[in-house]
């Protein structure tokens, strides 16, 4: 039967599906995300980097509607640029998170995106902020996106305070892998960004380099 409804990508909004995670370690933060962008049942981009820079040492992780999340990240990037010129130094992570929160709260009814903001600043070191639905809360770690539901238990059980950088990166990769295995809307490759006082390091972990678990 010929359908009048047309192609999916016209009627279905492009969502990032997603698993995103940010964890604070001793001296900085590690952010991680998968790379799948879906519109209905088709994947429109299998290599999207959902870790978007807001400033040199502040990144945000995108989830929810792709258009809404990208737009918020770009607007806040611009606002932070202006802000950091006005104060004459690098902005605080809390400022970036507040700017994101202000947009998410004001346009709460119209937007459907969740951004996790994480970074490093001189004053408070590594910080992770959740901005879901317009709240602003600092947390030692935050997970988000459709795949996060599958890994809340894992993260709650395995997280320890004061872990070192390499351990933290491995923890993030493990969590992403477990979520990508179970969630249909998450997949592709894993992007990992590590931010500390020395700088920002971006890494891609390809599909065949991800750790394997029980069912593989």
């Amino acid at each position: 039967m010929l359908e009048e409804t047309g192609p999916e990508w016209l009627s279905e909004e492009v969502k990032t599906g997603t698993t995103i995670i940010a964890i604070e370690f001793d001296g900085g933060v590690v952010l991680g995300s998968d790379s799948r962008v879906s519109a209905g049942a088709s994947v429109v981009n299998r290599v999207m980097n959902k870790l978007s820079p807001l400033h040199d040492k502040i990144y945000c992780a995108l989830s929810g509607s792709a258009a809404d999340a990208q737009t918020i990240a770009e607007i806040v990037n611009y606002q932070l640029d202006v802000h950091s010129i006005e104060i004459g130094e690098d902005p605080q992570v809390r400022s970036a998170a507040t700017l994101v929160r202000n947009i998410s709260y004001k346009y709460k009814e119209e937007l459907s995106a969740h951004l996790i903001v994480a970074g490093w600043d001189r004053r408070d070191g590594g910080q992770v902020f959740a901005t879901l639905n317009g709240l602003l809360t600092r947390q030692p770690f935050a997970v988000g996106g459709s795949g996060s539901s599958y890994v809340y238990g894992f993260v709650d059980a395995e997280y320890r305070r004061g872990i070192r950088k390499e351990e933290c990166q491995q923890f993030v990769v493990n969590t992403l892998t477990l979520a990508m295995n179970r969630d249909g809307s998450s997949g592709g490759v894993a992007y990992v960004v590590t931010i500390d006082e020395h700088g920002t390091e971006e890494k891609v972990v390809l599909g065949n380099q991800l750790p394997t678990f029980f069912d593989q």
Partner: protein, 250 residues
């Protein structure tokens, strides 16, 4: 401190009232037994690929109005600037007017800066406009061009999200075309290989998707020149009519 908006009561902006009215009209019309006129869609297979010296954009040439082919040879590759072209899928009027508007604004911008426009600028302008209209402008675009930073290719969705990739497909035939790309794409291809790949991807869309058909148009953009090849390949030639006598002889 940087603030999101100046303190001012919200007025102006885009009014979505007509969309509600249209929904009501659709219900009323079906009660009486008639149907609202269908917007002409381009159905479509469009795609683009980045090769060694630039980008190749490709499109089919069928425009549909519901189940009828409204135009057998429409042009879906639109001019944005001398070094940037854009393929459009979705509602034909939306893609046409959106690309013309951004082309005009980009020319003014280019005169103001005194430089050749960049693909990233066109991308920003398009995505900000489409986001402002919250997906009601049904334009899905493949934007490609060569600027001072090299060749670039973007896909832009009706709600305003964009992806920057080495190869993209859009339209109802996008799955068929993407299958060809995923199989045969290699980075840094030569121009002829890239043209052949795009031609094959569009052909896959034409033969396997009902919303795409007719011929294949190509547009090859490099630093020095733009080659708008219309048509590149007449995949569906109309047969020659014969009289009954001649048909009996065949």
């Amino acid at each position: 401190m940087a603030t999101l908006t100046a303190v001012r009561p919200a007025f102006g902006g885009f009014s979505f009232d007509n969309c509600k009215r249209n929904a009501v009209l659709e219900v009323e019309a079906s009660k009486v037994g008639c149907s609202v006129p269908a917007a002409r869609k381009t159905g479509t297979t469009i795609c683009g690929v980045v090769f060694k010296d630039g980008v190749v954009l490709g499109a089919d040439t069928r425009a549909t109005e519901g189940m009828i082919v409204a135009d057998k040879n429409c042009s879906k590759i639109h001019y944005i600037s001398p070094n940037i072209y854009c393929c459009g899928a979705g509602t034909a009027a939306d893609t046409e007017m959106t690309t013309q508007l951004i082309s005009s604004n980009l020319e003014l911008h280019s005169l103001s800066t005194g430089r050749l426009p960049r693909v990233a600028t066109a991308n920003r302008m398009l995505k900000q406009m489409l986001f402002r209209y919250q997906g009601y402008i049904g334009a899905a675009l493949v934007l490609g061009g060569v600027d001072c930073n090299g060749p670039h290719l973007y896909s832009i969705y009706p709600h305003g999200s964009t992806d920057k990739l080495p190869y993209v497909t859009m339209g109802s035939g996008s799955l068929a075309a993407m299958a060809v790309f995923e199989d045969r794409y290699k980075p840094d291809m030569e121009e002829d290989a890239a043209k052949q790949l795009v031609r094959d991807a569009i052909a896959a869309g034409i033969f396997n998707d009902l919303g795409s058909g007719s011929n294949i148009d190509l547009c090859v953009i490099t630093k020095s020149k733009v080659n708008y090849i219309r048509p590149h390949d007449e995949a569906n030639k109309k047969g020659v009519r014969v009289t009954e006598l001649e048909a009996l002889k065949l």
